[in-house]
Symmetry: C3
Subunit: 263 residues, 3 copies
């Protein structure tokens, strides 16, 4: 019987009828969507039997994101190799139909280029976005020399303090601790954390860079409370934020270009 099924799937596959069907907790889909939509409105997910992934650059080419979702992030997952072009705003409208703890079913109907979501007795179908014009951006393999592990809640606190002071935020780490600071013409705000208040601190010499506050703020706000974030910085160098969602089943890497201070 199983042999017959396997044979049939092979035949379907040859006929180009690729398949994607998955169930996911609404909280998991939500955290994923909110992270991605800080950067882009429409995305291409690369779907494979061993999981989904996404690489995207924002329209201004200031930040990029690399996301790996393992099948373990789903309640159930079954996929051939395919691409899913998704409009993040529409997926957010599906999330509003789900309560906490609800499971959302997603199923592709590739011939018609559509994705169908199901939440309880609600069916929500949408056309997939054309992915032909969406490239696969190369995510550079950066190795900043300072690495700080910190709860995102602390970073969120620092961002609140920086609001309306300047358009940029400085991240600084030395062997003693980590600091976010923001300096305007008449105002200044900073959040300073000593090594003992951090989850870990690996810095050989003092490193410091300046970043656009709006980008940094948007990604930090989208990370669920309680998440540990690896903040990797260097002098006048991109910041790399690495964190996990869904009990470690989703890996996120976020890169943000520095603003080089003119002398």
């Amino acid at each position: 019987m199983l042999q017959v099924q396997s044979h049939l799937e092979g035949v379907l596959s040859q006929r180009g009828e690729r398949m994607f069907k998955a169930e996911i907790k609404s909280e998991t889909l939500k955290s994923l969507v909110y992270i991605v939509s800080t950067l882009v409105d429409e995305v291409k997910f690369s779907v494979k039997p061993e999981g989904m992934s996404l690489k995207a650059v924002d329209p201004a080419h200031v930040a990029m994101i690399d996301l790996e979702v393992s099948p373990g992030a789903f309640v159930s997952y079954s996929a051939d190799e395919t691409n899913l072009g998704l409009d993040m705003d529409k997926v957010k409208s599906v999330l509003k139909l789900a309560g906490p703890g609800n499971t959302i079913t997603m199923e592709q109907d590739e011939e018609k280029g559509r994705l169908t979501f199901r939440v309880g007795n609600i069916t929500r179908r949408m056309n997939l976005v054309d992915t032909a014009s969406m490239g696969d951006p190369h995510i550079p393999n950066l190795s900043p020399s300072g690495i700080v592990s910190i709860k995102v809640d602390q970073l969120q606190k620092g961002i609140r303090a920086a609001e309306s002071i300047s358009d940029h935020i400085a991240l600084m780490a030395d062997s003693e601790g980590f600091e976010l600071s923001c300096e305007g013409d008449t105002d200044y705000a900073s959040l300073r954390m000593e090594g003992s208040e951090l989850e870990s601190l690996k810095v050989s010499s003092k490193v410091r860079s300046l970043y656009p506050l709006d980008y940094f703020s948007n990604i930090i706000r989208a990370i669920p409370a309680g998440t540990s974030v690896d903040v990797e910085i260097d002098n006048d160098y991109p910041v790399k934020l690495a964190f996990k969602l869904a009990d470690g089943e989703i890996d996120v890497t976020y890169l943000l270009a520095p603003r080089i201070e003119s002398e």
Copy 2:
């Protein structure tokens, strides 16, 4: 003594000094006002010793409402025959002064054409709206062939799913179940309930009509959570929504014209 009082009331009544005085729970007045104000801003209540009633048509003549309030909906009720012209926004401002469980007293001072509300130690008096130009719309006696009884919470869920997909919503019932659906150029949403999930289902053959989503959405949102609604539909026919408020003491019938789909 009672005879004297009765005699005096008779005299007052002959002199045209008609009387309306009632006490009502703030929750009851609120549910009534929110239902009516989905359709019209100013209304004429017909007051009689045996209860109040209201018939109103919206300015675009797309929907109408028929409301019967029995004296049992009030904490106390005492009325001669009269009309009350009320501005719904002003009554809403009175509701904001009352907390849950508060009783609101209403008393007409007909000579001066005013209504006085009392909530605790607050007095709020307003001029009555002139009802001379307000007709008594005829509410047609429709008998759609499909009748579905359903908790309003389910309808509210269906409306959330339909948002921003199309301007119209289709209601469909067959012998198996009931369905709300909404179809746009690229998107589709539906809520499907089998007979076992409904409170009752009386449908001989499949019936389906299309309605303007904004009207349907406004009335459904105004119905208190937990209320059972009789949804009566037919093919390309007005929908009739019938439900009770205030432990059955208020009877509401709402009619909404269909949009006839052009072939």
Copy 3:
């Protein structure tokens, strides 16, 4: 050792390096800031070893405020004689960084004309506002003949009832009770409290004045729930509101000019 410290402080003081350093509960700073900002955006606090004070008149010269903050309002307080020019909106942004129960540290760095706030591991520094052009308004010593003590919650209820009826509110007291009322062309609202419902009532003869609703409403809304307010009125005379914040350690007097009704 203490002698040396004392000597050093004396030397610093002779060099004109005046000092202000205080710790305050976020709730206390918040109540103070919200009261003051109903009237003015930028203020001059007069700081002395025995406490802080503020006298301010609103730009339209309709209302004035007199505020006395004793050192007991602070967790710790240490000050030479100086002035602090503060932008209320910026202090509000500091309050947003503090949770309930948090202590906020304020420290002046007079040479550089700046004030530094600290909340946990956050540092927020701002330039002081120039106080040279800010006068010391004379607060007249009024003695209205009617004095009513009342919980601010009652006044807040009366203001909600008066909304959108008229631009003015009448305060009236007689030997029996106290009344707020508002009369428009078609609408009327009042809150009436008998003597037994008030905390105290000292009125020899009936007194009544009319006040601008927006000013009265703004100050009443800014007073924390549960606060007892002395409302002092007379005929066509300013109203004096006197109340205490922070367990009696902050004394507030607020005066509001009447609107003289033309005959």
